[in-house]
Amino acid sequence: MATDKQLIPVEDLLKGRTDEELRAWARAYLAAAEPRGGCDACRFEDPFSDRLCTIPDISLEDFDLGVSGINCSRFQPRE
């Protein structure tokens, strides 16, 4: 499998992008989203997506699949 992991220059990825450019990108990205179904507790797009997660006590380090979705104790499927 071609993963090319050694070629990912993470340190330089955001260089040259202003904070305002990044915020504009994020705003445009979120504006184009189409929320559907999911969880009323944390507003997931679906049980396997954390795109709209707003649980306030998740650290960025923990912001991964293990703290969200159907394993979340607050998961409430949206009718």
């Binding site: 071609a2 992991k5 990825l13 955001l14 979120l30 049980p47």
Partner: protein, 167 residues
Amino acid sequence: MEEVRNDAFHITAAANMASIAGQGFYVGRRGVLGAGAYFDLGTEATGWKPARQRYPDLPLVVFRCEVALGRVLDLDDEETHARFQQFQRELGQRLGRDETLRLGRGGQLDEFLFELTSKTGMTYHTIKRTFVTDGQTRIAVRDPRRIRVLSVCDEKGEELPWPPTSN
């Protein structure tokens, strides 16, 4: 040599069969692996529940597909995942915590891939991750031309004509 998987399963509403036959799989869906057409590898078993939640009142079908993976961003690889987490932290510092959380992991991945492509010309065709929620390995395929339908079955396991016949 490029890896090709012939055990990629995608469950969706039967009503979507015509558009898939005509236009290919929709790769604009934004999930936790960013935008792409989502497949479970190796088994269809774990795909039924989320599909049922997505389409609670519609009959479902399961596609078995062959996927030419191309260049894979493998988030099961520790080093790759650590690099993505490093990017997440940097993005969080630049965008702020709330905005970064709103983007979600999928949005952060899309931004990661966007920056990779624009800065290095490097394009990933497939994102791969084994979900801790259910232990299932999933892929998000970003180019529908890499997907070929092998078979389609209904919920009872009966094979359906492909491409679908129009009445």
